[in-house]
Protein backbone atom coordinates (compact mmCIF):
# COMPACT_ATOMS: atom_id res chain seq x y z
CA UNK A 1 0.00 0.00 0.00
CA UNK A 2 1.37 3.40 -0.85
CA UNK A 3 1.58 5.87 2.00
CA UNK A 4 -0.63 8.43 0.37
CA UNK A 5 -3.34 6.01 -0.61
CA UNK A 6 -6.61 6.59 1.16
CA UNK A 7 -7.83 3.52 2.94
CA UNK A 8 -11.21 3.11 4.61
CA UNK A 9 -10.84 3.22 8.36
CA UNK A 10 -11.25 -0.25 9.83
CA UNK A 11 -14.20 -0.36 12.17
CA UNK A 12 -12.12 -1.38 15.14
CA UNK A 13 -9.17 0.89 14.53
CA UNK A 14 -10.71 3.83 16.28
CA UNK A 15 -13.39 2.96 18.74
CA UNK A 16 -16.56 4.68 17.65
CA UNK A 17 -17.93 6.48 20.65
CA UNK A 18 -20.95 8.12 19.15
CA UNK A 19 -23.19 5.22 18.24
CA UNK A 20 -26.95 5.76 18.02
CA UNK A 21 -28.45 5.49 21.48
CA UNK A 22 -31.49 3.33 22.00
CA UNK A 23 -34.49 5.48 22.86
CA UNK A 24 -32.75 8.72 21.98
CA UNK A 25 -34.81 9.48 18.88
CA UNK A 26 -38.06 9.03 20.80
CA UNK A 27 -36.78 11.21 23.63
CA UNK A 28 -35.79 13.94 21.17
CA UNK A 29 -39.23 13.91 19.54
CA UNK A 30 -40.99 13.99 22.89
CA UNK A 31 -38.71 16.74 24.21
CA UNK A 32 -39.40 18.77 21.07
CA UNK A 33 -43.08 18.44 21.93
CA UNK A 34 -42.37 19.84 25.38
CA UNK A 35 -42.10 16.68 27.45
CA UNK A 36 -39.94 17.52 30.45
CA UNK A 37 -39.41 13.89 31.34
CA UNK A 38 -38.03 13.24 27.85
CA UNK A 39 -35.72 16.21 28.24
CA UNK A 40 -34.50 14.74 31.50
CA UNK A 41 -33.79 11.51 29.63
CA UNK A 42 -31.68 13.43 27.12
CA UNK A 43 -29.87 15.09 29.98
CA UNK A 44 -29.17 11.73 31.58
CA UNK A 45 -27.85 10.34 28.29
CA UNK A 46 -25.51 13.23 27.50
CA UNK A 47 -24.64 14.99 30.76
CA UNK A 48 -21.39 13.12 31.32
CA UNK A 49 -19.88 13.96 27.95
CA UNK A 50 -21.00 17.57 27.97
CA UNK A 51 -19.74 18.03 31.51
CA UNK A 52 -16.48 16.31 30.67
CA UNK A 53 -15.93 18.62 27.70
CA UNK A 54 -16.64 21.67 29.89
CA UNK A 55 -14.38 20.38 32.64
CA UNK A 56 -11.49 19.71 30.26
CA UNK A 57 -11.84 23.13 28.70
CA UNK A 58 -12.13 25.02 32.00
CA UNK A 59 -10.33 22.85 34.53
CA UNK A 60 -12.73 23.94 37.24
CA UNK A 61 -15.64 21.89 38.59
CA UNK A 62 -17.89 24.80 39.54
CA UNK A 63 -17.42 26.57 36.20
CA UNK A 64 -17.86 23.29 34.32
CA UNK A 65 -21.13 22.64 36.12
CA UNK A 66 -22.35 26.17 35.36
CA UNK A 67 -21.55 25.74 31.69
CA UNK A 68 -23.14 22.29 31.59
CA UNK A 69 -26.26 23.93 32.93
CA UNK A 70 -26.03 26.70 30.31
CA UNK A 71 -25.50 24.18 27.52
CA UNK A 72 -28.59 22.20 28.47
CA UNK A 73 -30.65 25.35 28.82
CA UNK A 74 -29.54 26.27 25.31
CA UNK A 75 -30.57 22.79 24.29
CA UNK A 76 -33.99 23.24 25.84
CA UNK A 77 -34.50 26.49 23.95
CA UNK A 78 -33.24 25.20 20.64
CA UNK A 79 -34.21 21.56 20.55
CA UNK A 80 -37.14 22.40 18.33
CA UNK A 81 -34.68 23.41 15.63
CA UNK A 82 -32.92 20.03 15.61
CA UNK A 83 -33.76 18.36 12.31
CA UNK A 84 -31.51 15.34 12.49
CA UNK A 85 -29.11 16.49 9.77
CA UNK A 86 -26.24 15.46 12.05
CA UNK A 87 -26.04 13.13 15.01
CA UNK A 88 -27.77 14.58 18.03
CA UNK A 89 -24.65 14.30 20.16
CA UNK A 90 -22.66 16.24 17.53
CA UNK A 91 -25.34 18.92 17.44
CA UNK A 92 -25.44 19.11 21.24
CA UNK A 93 -21.65 19.25 21.42
CA UNK A 94 -21.69 22.16 19.01
CA UNK A 95 -24.00 24.00 21.40
CA UNK A 96 -21.71 23.13 24.30
CA UNK A 97 -18.57 24.22 22.42
CA UNK A 98 -20.17 27.58 21.68
CA UNK A 99 -21.12 28.00 25.33
CA UNK A 100 -17.53 27.23 26.34
CA UNK A 101 -16.03 29.66 23.81
CA UNK A 102 -18.45 32.39 24.87
CA UNK A 103 -17.37 31.82 28.45
CA UNK A 104 -13.67 32.02 27.55
CA UNK A 105 -14.28 35.33 25.81
CA UNK A 106 -16.13 36.70 28.83
CA UNK A 107 -13.31 35.57 31.10
CA UNK A 108 -11.01 38.11 29.54
CA UNK A 109 -9.76 36.10 26.64
CA UNK A 110 -11.24 38.29 23.91
CA UNK A 111 -8.84 36.87 21.37
CA UNK A 112 -10.52 33.50 21.65
CA UNK A 113 -12.56 33.79 18.53
CA UNK A 114 -13.07 30.39 17.03
CA UNK A 115 -10.56 31.11 14.29
CA UNK A 116 -7.92 32.32 16.68
CA UNK A 117 -8.64 29.60 19.18
CA UNK A 118 -7.87 27.16 16.42
CA UNK A 119 -4.65 28.92 15.50
CA UNK A 120 -2.65 29.63 18.66
CA UNK A 121 0.22 32.05 18.59
CA UNK A 122 3.56 30.93 17.26
CA UNK A 123 5.06 30.56 20.70
CA UNK A 124 2.14 28.42 21.87
CA UNK A 125 2.42 26.13 18.89
CA UNK A 126 4.44 22.96 18.64
CA UNK A 127 7.98 22.91 17.39
CA UNK A 128 9.02 20.76 14.50
CA UNK A 129 11.24 17.99 15.69
CA UNK A 130 14.58 17.76 13.98
CA UNK A 131 16.30 15.83 16.68
CA UNK A 132 18.22 16.49 19.81
CA UNK A 133 18.33 14.90 23.20
CA UNK A 134 15.47 12.92 24.68
CA UNK A 135 14.39 11.54 21.36
CA UNK A 136 11.43 9.69 22.74
CA UNK A 137 9.05 9.86 25.67
CA UNK A 138 10.42 7.55 28.28
CA UNK A 139 8.28 4.95 29.97
CA UNK A 140 4.53 5.13 30.17
CA UNK A 141 2.43 8.21 30.71
CA UNK A 142 -0.16 7.88 33.45
CA UNK A 143 -3.64 9.31 33.21
CA UNK A 144 -2.99 12.20 35.60
CA UNK A 145 0.12 13.31 33.74
CA UNK A 146 -1.65 13.20 30.41
CA UNK A 147 -4.68 15.06 31.79
CA UNK A 148 -2.37 17.78 33.13
CA UNK A 149 -0.59 18.13 29.83
CA UNK A 150 -3.93 18.39 28.02
CA UNK A 151 -4.91 21.15 30.46
CA UNK A 152 -1.78 23.04 29.41
CA UNK A 153 -2.60 22.97 25.70
CA UNK A 154 -3.77 26.23 24.14
CA UNK A 155 -7.61 26.21 24.11
CA UNK A 156 -7.99 25.65 20.38
CA UNK A 157 -5.63 22.69 20.31
CA UNK A 158 -7.23 21.30 23.47
CA UNK A 159 -10.68 21.50 21.97
CA UNK A 160 -9.82 19.62 18.79
CA UNK A 161 -7.69 17.07 20.65
CA UNK A 162 -10.42 16.34 23.18
CA UNK A 163 -13.14 16.13 20.54
CA UNK A 164 -11.14 13.79 18.29
CA UNK A 165 -8.74 11.74 20.35
CA UNK A 166 -10.67 11.58 23.61
CA UNK A 167 -14.31 11.86 22.58
CA UNK A 168 -13.92 10.03 19.30
CA UNK A 169 -15.54 12.50 16.93
CA UNK A 170 -14.55 12.37 13.28
CA UNK A 171 -12.99 15.35 11.54
CA UNK A 172 -16.11 16.06 9.52
CA UNK A 173 -18.13 16.23 12.74
CA UNK A 174 -15.56 18.50 14.39
CA UNK A 175 -15.46 20.73 11.33
CA UNK A 176 -19.23 21.01 11.58
CA UNK A 177 -19.10 21.77 15.30
CA UNK A 178 -16.39 24.39 14.98
CA UNK A 179 -17.42 25.80 11.61
CA UNK A 180 -13.97 25.15 10.20
CA UNK A 181 -12.68 23.04 7.34
CA UNK A 182 -11.91 19.35 7.72
CA UNK A 183 -8.33 20.14 6.74
CA UNK A 184 -8.12 22.69 9.51
CA UNK A 185 -9.39 20.15 12.04
CA UNK A 186 -6.78 17.60 10.89
CA UNK A 187 -4.01 20.15 10.98
CA UNK A 188 -4.97 21.37 14.46
CA UNK A 189 -5.15 17.84 15.79
CA UNK A 190 -1.65 17.11 14.56
CA UNK A 191 -0.31 20.31 16.08
CA UNK A 192 -2.09 19.49 19.33
CA UNK A 193 -0.45 16.06 19.50
CA UNK A 194 2.93 17.59 18.71
CA UNK A 195 2.46 20.24 21.39
CA UNK A 196 1.34 17.59 23.86
CA UNK A 197 4.51 15.66 23.17
CA UNK A 198 6.55 18.80 23.81
CA UNK A 199 4.74 19.31 27.12
CA UNK A 200 5.13 15.69 28.20
CA UNK A 201 8.83 15.65 27.35
CA UNK A 202 9.37 18.91 29.18
CA UNK A 203 7.64 17.38 32.22
CA UNK A 204 9.88 14.34 32.06
CA UNK A 205 12.99 16.51 31.83
CA UNK A 206 11.87 18.43 34.92
CA UNK A 207 11.24 15.21 36.82
CA UNK A 208 14.60 13.77 35.93
CA UNK A 209 16.33 17.00 36.99
CA UNK A 210 14.87 16.82 40.51
Amino acid sequence: MSAGQTQPKPANQHLRRNPPIVGEAEAIAAAQAGDEKAFETLYALHKRRVYSLCLRMLGNVAAAEDLTQDAFLQLYRKIGTFRGDSAFSTWLHRLAVNVVLMHLRKKGLPQISLEEALEPSQEDGPRKDFGGRDLQLSGSIDRVTLERAIDDLPPGYRLVFVLHDVEGYEHNEIADMLSCSIGNSKSQLHKARMKLRDLLRAGQRKESAV
Binding site: G34, K37, F39, Y51, E65, D129, F130
Partner: protein, 96 residues
Protein backbone atom coordinates in the same frame (compact mmCIF):
# COMPACT_ATOMS: atom_id res chain seq x y z
CA UNK B 1 17.60 -2.66 8.30
CA UNK B 2 16.98 0.35 10.45
CA UNK B 3 19.94 2.45 11.40
CA UNK B 4 19.95 4.07 14.80
CA UNK B 5 21.96 7.15 14.10
CA UNK B 6 20.22 10.41 14.99
CA UNK B 7 18.93 12.10 11.90
CA UNK B 8 20.66 15.22 10.77
CA UNK B 9 18.63 18.36 10.45
CA UNK B 10 17.58 18.08 6.88
CA UNK B 11 14.69 18.67 4.58
CA UNK B 12 13.72 15.03 4.64
CA UNK B 13 12.55 15.36 8.23
CA UNK B 14 10.68 18.56 7.45
CA UNK B 15 9.05 16.99 4.41
CA UNK B 16 8.17 13.84 6.30
CA UNK B 17 6.70 15.75 9.24
CA UNK B 18 4.66 17.89 6.87
CA UNK B 19 3.11 14.71 5.50
CA UNK B 20 2.51 13.15 8.90
CA UNK B 21 -1.04 14.48 9.55
CA UNK B 22 -2.26 12.96 6.31
CA UNK B 23 -0.34 9.73 6.90
CA UNK B 24 -1.99 9.35 10.29
CA UNK B 25 -5.41 10.14 8.91
CA UNK B 26 -5.16 7.60 6.13
CA UNK B 27 -3.86 4.99 8.57
CA UNK B 28 -1.01 4.34 6.22
CA UNK B 29 1.51 1.69 7.19
CA UNK B 30 4.17 4.02 8.51
CA UNK B 31 6.71 1.26 8.96
CA UNK B 32 6.90 1.11 5.18
CA UNK B 33 7.93 4.75 4.99
CA UNK B 34 11.40 4.98 3.53
CA UNK B 35 12.33 7.99 5.66
CA UNK B 36 11.63 6.13 8.90
CA UNK B 37 14.03 3.36 7.97
CA UNK B 38 16.92 5.72 8.38
CA UNK B 39 15.73 8.33 10.83
CA UNK B 40 15.69 7.55 14.51
CA UNK B 41 14.31 10.97 15.33
CA UNK B 42 11.21 10.75 13.17
CA UNK B 43 10.70 7.12 14.23
CA UNK B 44 10.62 8.28 17.85
CA UNK B 45 8.25 11.10 16.92
CA UNK B 46 5.82 8.75 15.19
CA UNK B 47 5.95 6.31 18.08
CA UNK B 48 5.22 9.08 20.57
CA UNK B 49 2.34 10.55 18.59
CA UNK B 50 0.76 7.13 18.18
CA UNK B 51 1.22 6.49 21.89
CA UNK B 52 -0.38 9.82 22.82
CA UNK B 53 -3.38 9.13 20.59
CA UNK B 54 -3.75 5.64 22.09
CA UNK B 55 -3.57 6.90 25.66
CA UNK B 56 -6.09 9.64 24.93
CA UNK B 57 -8.65 7.00 24.04
CA UNK B 58 -8.43 5.74 27.61
CA UNK B 59 -9.51 9.12 28.96
CA UNK B 60 -13.19 8.43 28.57
CA UNK B 61 -15.35 10.68 30.72
CA UNK B 62 -15.77 9.20 34.16
CA UNK B 63 -17.29 12.06 36.13
CA UNK B 64 -20.88 13.21 36.24
CA UNK B 65 -21.99 16.68 37.22
CA UNK B 66 -23.53 16.91 40.67
CA UNK B 67 -27.31 16.36 40.98
CA UNK B 68 -27.66 20.07 41.70
CA UNK B 69 -27.01 20.78 38.02
CA UNK B 70 -30.17 19.00 36.91
CA UNK B 71 -32.13 20.58 39.76
CA UNK B 72 -31.05 24.01 38.50
CA UNK B 73 -31.84 23.16 34.90
CA UNK B 74 -35.28 21.87 35.82
CA UNK B 75 -36.03 24.95 37.82
CA UNK B 76 -34.83 27.20 35.02
CA UNK B 77 -36.85 25.49 32.31
CA UNK B 78 -39.95 25.62 34.45
CA UNK B 79 -39.40 29.35 34.67
CA UNK B 80 -38.79 29.75 30.95
CA UNK B 81 -41.33 32.10 29.48
CA UNK B 82 -43.65 30.74 26.82
CA UNK B 83 -42.28 28.09 24.56
CA UNK B 84 -39.11 26.76 23.01
CA UNK B 85 -37.92 27.87 19.58
CA UNK B 86 -39.34 24.85 17.92
CA UNK B 87 -42.76 26.30 18.46
CA UNK B 88 -43.79 23.60 20.87
CA UNK B 89 -44.75 24.66 24.34
CA UNK B 90 -42.69 23.30 27.19
CA UNK B 91 -44.46 20.88 29.43
CA UNK B 92 -47.12 22.64 31.52
CA UNK B 93 -45.47 21.53 34.70
CA UNK B 94 -44.64 24.90 36.13
CA UNK B 95 -46.42 24.33 39.36
CA UNK B 96 -43.94 24.21 42.19
Amino acid sequence: MKTTRPCEINMNCADFQDRLPELFETHADLSAEEHLKGCENCTALVRDLEYIAQQAKLLLPIHDPSPTVWDNIREAIRNEPGQNQGGSPPAPSAER
